[in-house]
C-alpha cells in the first residue's frame, strides 16, 4: 500500500477524540428530583447491556469514520496482480536499466538474479510499442551513460545477452540519472525508465531527489518509472558473508605463526549453526573450524597457522557456500618474515653476563617470535668470519675494523646486507669515519657526556630522547602510551655526529630519533641494496639505561627487521573491488602488469610520484604483479576484497520505493505480470459512509 499524501495520515489521530472525550469528559449531569425514579432504575437495568453494546458499536463506528476519512484523504492505493499490458501510458522513449551489482549474482531457483534480470530486460524490450525508442544501461560500478534511445532492438538485445554481473556495488540513483539524461534529447513527450534490479536497500539513496530530466521546454519532468523485481518479490535474500579479516602474528605459537581472525555476518532472520569455516593456503585447507551466527548478527572465528618459511603467501578464508558464493571467501596476502641470520660483533665481551656488551641485544633478538637467529662473536673472531652467511651484522661497541674488514663490510651492505652500528668507549670516531665512510649514515664527531652515571641527580641531568619519527616503520609502534617506552630512557653519553652526511649516497640518510639537544640518536641510510642503522649510544648500560627500558626489545627487533628488509618494508596493500590500487615499484624494478585472478590484466597508469595506479580491480582475489621481464614481484602481490556492504541483501520496501519515485510516476511490475493499482481510498470513503449511516441508525434506536 502506498500513500499519495502521507501527511494526511496525521488526521487519523482524530480517531482518539471519542476515546479522549470518554476519558476526560467531566461534564456534570443536571440533577433532577424525580418521583418515578423506580421506573428509571428499572429501565436502566433492563437496557444496560444493550446500551453498553450500543455504545461500543457507536464508538467503533465513529472511530472507523475518523480513521477512514483521513486515510482516504491520504490517497492510499493497493497493488494487485493482473495480466495487464506493461505499458499503459502511451508511447515513451524508454531506458532499460539492468542492475549488474554483486547482489544480482545471487542464486535463486536454479538460476541467478542476473539471468532473471536479463530475461526481464528482454521482456521489457519485447513489450515496447513499435514507435518507442529504447536504450540499455548496465548498472554496475563505474556505469557510463548509454547512447541516445534508438530503434535498433537487435543491438540492445545483443547488449543484454553480453552483459555480465560485476562484483561491485551499483549506485542506482546515479544510473537512473544517467538513463534519464539519455532520454532528454529524444523528442517524444513520454519518458520511461525500466528499472530491473534485486532491489536491495543499499543500492538506493532515498534521501535525495528522485530522477528528473529536462523536458522539451527546459522544465524538469519526472519520467514514468517501471520497477521490475529480479528477486520476484521475495521478502528476504538470506546471505552469509566474510566481511572482515585481521591477520596478526601469533607469537605464542612460535616464529612465523599467524592468526587469522575473520568476521562472518549473517544477513538473514534465521540463525546459522555449525557453519564450516576454513583457512586455505595455496588451494589447500590448512585449518578448519565451525561457528554459530545469530540471526542478523555476526560472529568471529580465529584460525592459526605456522608457516615453515618466510615469504609472501596468498590465501583465503572461506565459509560454506550459500546462494551468493562470491562473498563466502575473503582473499589475503600475508608476508611471513624470513629467518634472519645475524652476526653480533661483541666489542666488549665480559664474563659477567649483564656487563657483556651483547647481553641485552641477544636477549632482545632471541625473544619468542623473533625471526632472528643470532651468532655472537668477539670482534676478532667475527671479522675473520665470512659475512656471506649472514643477512645482518651488528657492530656493538666494536673497535674500528681493519681496512680489509671494512671493505668486506661495505661489500656486504652493498649486496643487500643490513648493518647496525652501536657505539661505546671502544669506538674511535676518526677510524670509523675513515674506514667506514662509505656506509656510515653520518660521520662520527665526538662523545658527549650528559652526566657521569656515578654522580647524584643523574636522572635529572641525563639526556632524553627528543623527537622520534613515529611515521617511520621502525618507530611506528611507539605511539600513544608505547611512546613512554622510549621517552623514559636516560642517556649519560652519546656520540655526536657531523651535521653533514658522509659517503656518496648521503641523500638516503634519515635521522629517525634525536636527543633533546637535537643530536641524532638513530640515523639510517641505504647503501647499495643494503641498509645501515647507526645508534649513537651503547646497547649495554655503560652510556644509557635504555637496555632496561620497555622500548629496547621492540626497538632492537624492529631495527633488525628494517635492516634485513624482510618485515616492515612490505606495506600491506588494501584494495577493494572497484577501487584503483596505487603500487610503488621497488628499486630497480618496473611494474609491467597486474594480473587479476581470472587472468585479466588491470589497466596501469603511471603517476608523477613514481607510483603506478592499477585498476580499478573488478574481481575479488589475489592479484599478481609482474615486472617487465615477467618476473613476479611478490612483495607487491595484493588481494582485492569485496565491499562488505554489498553482501547485505536486505530488500528495500516497495512502498519506500514508490514513495521515492512518486505515486503517480512509478509503475510496479512483478515477474508474473503487471501490478494494477487499485484506488483503495474509495473503499475507505465507502466504509466511512456506511459507518456514518449505521451510526445514525444506532442513534435513532
Amino acid at each position: 500500500m502506498t500513500f499519495a499524501h502521507p501527511w494526511m495520515l496525521l488526521g487519523a489521530l482524530a480517531a482518539l477524540i471519542p476515546l479522549l472525550i470518554h476519558l476526560f469528559d467531566r461534564r456534570r449531569p443536571r440533577p433532577h428530583p424525580f418521583g418515578a425514579i423506580s421506573f428509571v432504575l428499572r429501565s436502566q437495568r433492563r437496557t444496560a447491556s444493550r446500551l453498553r453494546l450500543k455504545r461500543l458499536l457507536l464508538y467503533l463506528l465513529r472511530t472507523t469514520i475518523l480513521i477512514a476519512l483521513p486515510v482516504a484523504l491520504a490517497r492510499p492505493e493497493l497493488k494487485r496482480n493482473a495480466q495487464a499490458a506493461t505499458v499503459t501510458r502511451g508511447p515513451a522513449a524508454t531506458s532499460i536499466i539492468l542492475d549488474a551489482s554483486l547482489s544480482m549474482r545471487y542464486a535463486d531457483g536454479g538460476t541467478t538474479l542476473f539471468e532473471r534480470g536479463r530475461q526481464l530486460a528482454r521482456d521489457a524490450l519485447r513489450d515496447l510499442l513499435p514507435d518507442e525508442p529504447a536504450n540499455l544501461l548496465i548498472c554496475g560500478p563505474g556505469a557510463i551513460a548509454p547512447s541516445a534511445p534508438s530503434f535498433d532492438r537487435g543491438q540492445i538485445r545483443s547488449n543484454i545477452d553480453s552483459a555480465r554481473p560485476t562484483f561491485g556495488s551499483s549506485d542506482m540513483n546515479r544510473c537512473l540519472d544517467l538513463a534519464g539524461h539519455s532520454l532528454e534529447e529524444n523528442p517524444m513527450p513520454g519518458k520511461r525508465l525500466v528499472l530491473i534490479s534485486a532491489l536491495t536497500a543499499n543500492a538506493f539513496r532515498l534521501n535525495i531527489a528522485p530522477p528528473t530530466l529536462q523536458g522539451p521546454k527546459g522544465e524538469r519532468i519526472r519520467p514514468e518509472v517501471v520497477v521490475r523485481d529480479a528477486a520476484g518479490g521475495k521478502q528476504w535474500l538470506p546471505n552469509r558473508a566474510v566481511v572482515d579479516l585481521k591477520i596478526e602474528p601469533a607469537l605464542q605459537l612460535g616464529p612465523r605463526a599467524f592468526q587469522f581472525t575473520f568476521t562472518v555476518r549473517n544477513f538473514s532472520p534465521e540463525p546459522v549453526r555449525d557453519l564450516e569455516a576454513s583457512l586455505k593456503l595455496g588451494g589447500q585447507v590448512v585449518a578448519k573450524g565451525f561457528l554459530d551466527i545469530p540471526a542478523n548478527g555476526a560472529s568471529q572465528k580465529t584460525l592459526s597457522y605456522r608457516f615453515s618459511s618466510g615469504g609472501v603467501f596468498p590465501g583465503e578464508v572461506a565459509i560454506s557456500a550459500d546462494n551468493l558464493t562470491a562473498d563466502d571467501r575473503r582473499p589475503f596476502v600475508v608476508a611471513v618474515p624470513k629467518e634472519l641470520r645475524a652476526l653480533i660483533v661483541n666489542g666488549e665481551p665480559s664474563t659477567v653476563r649483564y656487563r657483556d656488551e651483547a647481553f641485552f641485544v641477544e636477549a632482545a633478538l632471541s625473544a619468542p617470535g623473533s625471526p632472528v637467529r643470532a651468532t655472537t662473536k668477539d670482534a676478532e673472531a667475527a671479522f675473520h668470519d665470512s659475512f656471506d652467511q649472514y643477512e645482518l651484522i651488528l657492530l656493538l661497541n666494536a673497535s674500528a675494523p681493519t681496512p680489509e674488514v671494512s671493505r668486506r663490510l661495505v661489500e656486504f651492505v652493498n649486496r643487500g646486507g643490513g648493518l647496525l652500528i652501536s657505539l661505546g668507549d671502544h669506538v674511535e670516531p676518526d677510524l670509523y669515519n675513515q674506514r667506514l665512510v662509505e656506509i656510515l649514515p653520518m660521520p662520527l664527531r665526538m662523545v658527549k657526556t650528559a652526566v657521569d652515571p656515578e654522580e647524584a641527580d643523574t636522572e635529572k641531568k641525563a639526556a632524553k630522547l627528543g623527537k622520534i619519527a613515529t611515521e617511520h616503520p621502525i618507530f611506528s609502534l611507539f605511539t600513544g602510551r608505547a611512546r613512554e617506552g622510549l621517552m623514559s630512557a636516560r642517556f649519560y653519553k652519546y656520540m655526536l655526529l657531523e651535521p653533514g652526511p658522509g659517503g656518496s649516497a648521503a641523500h638516503n640518510t634519515e635521522v629517525l630519533a634525536t636527543f633533546e639537544d637535537g643530536a641524532p640518536a638513530v640515523a639510517v641510510t641505504r647503501r647499495g641494496q643494503g641498509r645501515v642503522l647507526l645508534y649513537t649510544s651503547t646497547v649495554d648500560r655503560d652510556w644509557s639505561d635504555f637496555p632496561i627500558r620497555t622500548g629496547f626489545l621492540p626497538s632492537m627487533q624492529r631495527f633488525s627487521a628494517f635492516l634485513s628488509g624482510s618485515l616492515e618494508e612490505r606495506e600491506e596493500v588494501k584494495a577493494r573491488v572497484g577501487d584503483s590500487i596505487s603500487l610503488l615499484s621497488p628499486a630497480h624494478e618496473t611494474i609491467a602488469s597486474v594480473r587479476a585472478p581470472s587472468g585479466a590484466m588491470l589497466p596501469l597508469r603511471p603517476q608523477e610520484d613514481g607510483h603506478v595506479s592499477a585498476g580499478p580491480a573488478e574481481e575479488p582475489g589475489v592479484h599478481q604483479v609482474q615486472d617487465s621481464s615477467g618476473r613476479p614481484l611478490p612483495e607487491l602481490t595484493f588481494a582485492a576484497v569485496l565491499d562488505p556492504s554489498e553482501s547485505d541483501l536486505t530488500r528495500i520496501k516497495p512502498e519506500e520505493l514508490a514513495a521515492f519515485f512518486g505515486e503517480d510516476a512509478v509503475k510496479d511490475s512483478g515477474l508474473e505480470g503487471t501490478h494494477r493499482r487499485l484506488p483503495f481510498w474509495s473503499w475507505l470513503i465507502a466504509a466511512a459512509a456506511v459507518a456514518f449511516f449505521f451510526e445514525g441508525v444506532l442513534l435513532r434506536k
Binding site: H32, P33, F34, G35, F39, L41, Q44
Partner: protein
Amino acid sequence: MELLNAQTLAKLAGVKLRARAVVDGVLSGLHKSPHQGQSVEFAEHKEYAPGDEIRHLDWKAFGKFDKYYIKRFEHETNLHAILVLDGSASMGYQSAALSKLDVAKVLAGALAYLLVRQQDAAGLAVVTGERFQDLPARAAAGHLRIVLDELEGVGAHGTTDLFRAADHLAEKISRRSLVAVFSDLFDDRPEALKRIIHLRARKNDLAVFHIIDPAELSFPFDDPTLFLSMEDERRIEVNPREIKQSYLEEFNSFLKSVRATCAEADVDYELVRTDESLDAVLLRFLARRQERRR
C-alpha cells in the same frame, strides 16, 4: 392556593353524587341503606339489648310476647366518604402548573364540598410516610371548613406507604364508606395496591384517583440527567434519550397493571394528569359513577 375556585363549583353544581348501591346514609331518595334506622318502612325486630334506644321499643310486641323488641326500618341514609390523600414526597413532583399533591388536594376538597353540600359525610385521611392523620367523616357544613383547612396544611414528605394506609383505613372505617384514594401509587411493593383494594371486600365503595405528572408520562428529558429519588437516597445518572423507550414501556405497563387491578376489583379508577382540567376530571368521575348506578 385556592382549593375550590368558583368555576369548579359552578360546573359541579348540577351533578348529584350518588353512592353505589349499598352504603350507609341518611339522605333519603339518593342512597339505599342496608342498615336500620329512622324510616317509614319497617324491616324487622331485634331483641332488646342494653344500650338500644328506648324510643325504638315496640310496645305492641311487648304486649304480645312479653319481651322487649326493638323495631328496625329501611330508610334513606347519608353517604359516608373517606378521602384518602397520599402525602408522600413523590407527590410533590411538579413539572406543570400544579404538583401532584396540589391536584390531589383540589380534587379531595372538591369532593368534600360536593359531599357536604348534599348532606353526605366527608372525612379525611392523610398518609405521609409512616404518619396517618385522619378527620372523621361528618356531614356538618362547618366540617367542610375543617377538612379544607386540613388539606391546606398537607405537605409532601416521606415515602409512599399504601400498605400502612390500607391497614389504618381498615381499622378506622367502622361502617360502609366511600373511600376515595388520591395517590400516584408509587409504592414499589406490588401488593400495596391490592391491600387498598381489599377495603372493597369489606363492602366499602372504593375510588382511585391516580394522579400522574405529564413528565412522568412522557419522560421529556434530553440531556444527561442525574435523577434523584424524592423519597430516599437513590440516584442514577442516565442519558434519558437512551432509556426513554424502555421507561415508557415500564410506566405504561404500570398504568395498565393498576387499571386492570382496579377493574378486576370493581374499583372506580380515574387517571388524572396534573395539567388537565380538574373540573373535567370530577365531572368524568361523577358521570361514570352515575352511569354505573343505573
